[in-house]
C-alpha cells in the first residue's frame, strides 16, 4: 500500500501515463491500419503516412478508410498531422527525457512540481513536433522514401551520425541542467530555458534515429520500440562515448540486416 501511495504522489506519474497512452494510441492506429488494408502491411515508406492518416488522424480529417489509408502526408491536414507527430514524439522521445522532466519537476518548489513538468514537456515536445512536421513530414513524402532501401539507408546514416563529434557533444549536453528560479514568470522561463537546451541537444543527438523510425514501414511499431529503448539506454549511460559507439554498431548491423533481407526478397 505504501508503495502505491508513494507511486501516486509522484509528480511525474502523469507524464509516464501520457507516454503509455501514446504507445496505446500507436498500437490502436496500427490495428486500424491493418484492418483497413486487409494485408496487415502498408507500403515501406508509409510509416508516418499511416500515423497521419489512421486512428486519430482519420478522426481529425473525417476521411474514409480507403482515402485515409492511402493519402500521402501532403494531403493530410496539418491539424491532423501535427497531433500524430506529437504522438510519435511523446511515445519515443519523452521516455528518453524522463530524467530531465523529473529534474525540472523535483527541484522546483514543491507546489509547482506538476506545473514544472508540464512546462518542460510543452517546450520539449513542441521542439520535436516542429522538427517532425517541418522536416520528417516532407522527407517521408519524397519518392526515395518509398524505396525498400529507405530504412537500411536511414539506419546506416544514423550509424554514421553516431560516430561524429557533434553527436557526442549533443549527447553530453543532454546531461546538463540549468538553474531553476523558484517563483513566478522567472520560474516558468527557467524551466522553459532548460527544456529548450535539453530538447535542442536531444534533437541534435537523435534526429537521425527518428528519420529511421519515420521510414520504417512494416513492423514500424517494433522498430519504434527498439529505437526508443536504444536511445533511452544511450541517454541514461554514464559513459556517453561508449554508448554512442555501441549504438552505432547496433544501427550498422541493423542496416546490414535489413538491406540483406530486402535483397534476398
Amino acid at each position: 500500500m505504501s508503495a502505491l501511495r508513494s507511486l501516486g504522489r509522484r509528480p511525474t506519474l502523469w507524464v509516464e501515463a501520457m507516454v503509455a497512452a501514446a504507445w496505446l494510441a500507436l498500437l490502436a492506429g496500427e490495428g486500424a491500419a491493418r484492418a483497413s488494408d486487409g494485408s496487415g502491411g502498408a507500403s515501406w515508406a508509409n510509416g508516418p503516412v499511416w500515423i497521419c492518416t489512421t486512428g486519430l488522424g482519420r478522426l481529425a480529417s473525417h476521411g474514409t478508410h480507403e482515402a485515409a489509408a492511402s493519402a500521402p502526408l501532403a494531403t493530410a491536414s496539418l491539424a491532423a498531422g501535427t497531433p500524430m507527430w506529437a504522438l510519435m514524439a511523446a511515445a519515443m522521445m519523452v521516455p528518453t527525457a524522463m530524467p530531465a522532466v523529473q529534474h525540472a519537476s523535483l527541484t522546483s518548489l514543491y507546489w509547482r512540481r506538476r506545473r514544472a513538468a508540464l512546462e518542460f514537456l510543452v517546450v520539449f515536445l513542441g521542439l520535436w513536433t516542429a522538427f517532425s512536421v517541418l522536416a520528417l513530414g516532407p522527407l517521408t513524402t519524397l519518392e526515395p522514401a518509398a524505396s525498400p532501401f529507405a530504412l537500411p539507408i536511414a539506419l546506416a546514416a544514423a550509424a554514421l551520425w553516431q560516430l561524429t563529434p557533434l553527436k557526442l557533444r549533443a549527447l553530453r549536453a543532454c546531461h546538463r541542467s540549468r538553474p531553476l528560479p523558484p517563483r513566478g514568470w522567472r520560474a516558468s522561463l527557467g524551466v522553459g530555458n532548460f527544456a529548450l537546451h535539453n530538447g535542442a541537444a536531444c534533437l541534435l543527438s537523435c534526429w537521425a534515429i527518428m528519420v529511421a523510425a519515420a521510414v520504417s514501414g512494416p513492423g514500424r511499431l517494433l522498430w519504434m520500440g527498439a529505437l526508443t529503448a536504444a536511445i533511452t539506454i544511450e541517454k541514461l549511460s554514464e559513459k556517453p562515448r561508449t554508448a554512442c559507439r555501441r549504438l552505432a554498431a547496433l544501427l550498422g548491423a541493423a542496416a546490414a540486416g535489413v538491406a540483406a533481407a530486402v535483397l534476398l526478397g
Binding site: 527541484t107 518548489l109 541542467s177 549511460s237 559513459k239 556517453p240 561508449t242
Partner: protein, 475 residues
Amino acid sequence: MANGNQLLVRYEARSTQGQDALQHYARAVGAMKEREPSDPTSWDYQAAIHGTESNPLSLQRQCEHESWFFFPWHRIYLYYFEQIVRQAVVDTGGPEDWTLPYWNYDLGGEFAALPDPFRQPADEQTNPLYVGVRRPYYNAGGPLPELVSTEEAALALREFIGNAMFGGNNKSPHRPRFWGQSGLPEETPHGTVHVQVGGWMRNPEEAAWDPIFWLHHANIDRIWAVWNEKEGLPNPTESGWTNHDFSFFDAGGSQAAKTCGEVTETALLGYTYDPPPGGGTVEEVVPTPTEPPTPEPGAPTEPKFVGATEEPIYLEGESTNVPLDIDPNGQEEVQESAEPDDPRHLYVNVEEIRGESTPDTVYAMYLNLPEDASPADFENRYLTTLSFFGLERTTDPADDEAPHGMRVSTEVTEVIRRLRDKTDWDRERLWICFRPVVPEPSAEMPEEARELIDTSHASRHAPIEIGRISLSIDA
C-alpha cells in the same frame, strides 16, 4: 608494524612509527619515480590511476568522486598502492610490514601542518616527498585552518547514503542525476585539504603525484573506519554498491579487483589504524568475518524544495551575502521542521556550481551571519566549508564521462533551530554568507609561514558561479 593478530597498523605521520615509515616511504617513492611511466608499479602510473591530463593507459583516470563509491574506491586504491610501495620498501632494505602513515590534521596545532619530511629539505632533486608547487604557506610549515581540517561535522552524520550524508548518493545508471552526489566528508575535510595544500593537490588530474596525497587519503580512509567502528554506523547494503568492483594493479604489476562489499572494514584487508578506529588498543583489534549483506528495498525519498535564490551568485574571493527567500507556502513547514521532536530535516543546497577551474580559495558558509559577528556567531551559524575540488572535471569531462553540475548540500536544521530559539530568525528570508577561509596568524606558527599567509591566499581567485541556492526539507 603488525599487531598480535597479524593486522598491519597504519600510524599517524608524527608518531615514532610514522616517522620511521616516512623515511622508508621517501626512499620507495624515489625508487618508484625511477621506473618507466608505462610500468604499473611506477609512481607516474599509480598517480595517473587517480587522474591524468595525458591519454590514459589501462585503468588510469578512474577516480570515483561525487558518489557513494568515493570511500570504497579510494580504500582499494590505497590498499594496492600500499602493497606496491611496501615491495619497494623491502627492495630498498626496509621492513616487510611497512604501512602507509596517515596525516591526522584534525589534531590541530603542529599536526595540522605538513609533516616535516614533505617540506624539508625543500629540494625536489634530493627529497622525493617535496613538491615545490604547493601553496608556499604550507611548505613553510603553516597549519591548516580548523574549518578546512575538521572531521567533526563528518562524524556527526548518521547515514551513509545521501547528498548531505556521509558517503554520497547512489550512483546508478537507473537513477541518472544532473548533479554530483558527493557526501559531506568528500567536501570537508577531503576537498578542502586538497585545495588548501594547493599545487598538484588542487587538481584531481595531478593530485596523486604529490606524495602527501596518499597520507591525506589514508586519513580520509581512517575517518570512514571511525565512522563505522566508533560511531557504529553501517555501510550501504544495496547490491549496486556491495557487488560493484574496481580493478587496480598489485605489487607484481598484475590486475586485481575488489568489490565494495569486500572492503567494508579495514580488518578485512588486513590492516587497522593506531589508535584503532573502534577504540581500545591495536593489539585487541581482530579481523571480523563479514556478514553477507541483506538488500534493503525501498525507494529513496525526494526532498521538497521550499525556497531558492532568484539570480546566480558569483564568488571571487570576497565575502558575499545572499538572500534566500522562503516561499510563503513553505514558511510554516520550515518552522515545524525545526521543532526539536520533528523527524524532518532542513538542507541548504548550493547548486549548479560552475567555473573554469578550481579556485585557490575555499569558502566557509554561514547562515544569517551578522555584520559584527562574534566568535560565538561564527561557531553557531557555521554550515560547511566549500572547496569546489574537481570542478574542472564536472563541467568539462575530458574522458568518457557524462558531464554534470556540481552541487553541495548541508543540513541546517540545528542552526535554524538555534536561531529560532534566539528569536534571531526571519521566517520569510535566510541569508547565506560566504567567507573566504584564510589562516589566522598565530605565534605558534613558523615565522616564514606567518609572513606568507597573505601572498599565499591571494594568488588566484578563479571566479565561481553558483546557479542557485535552495532550501529543502526531506520527506
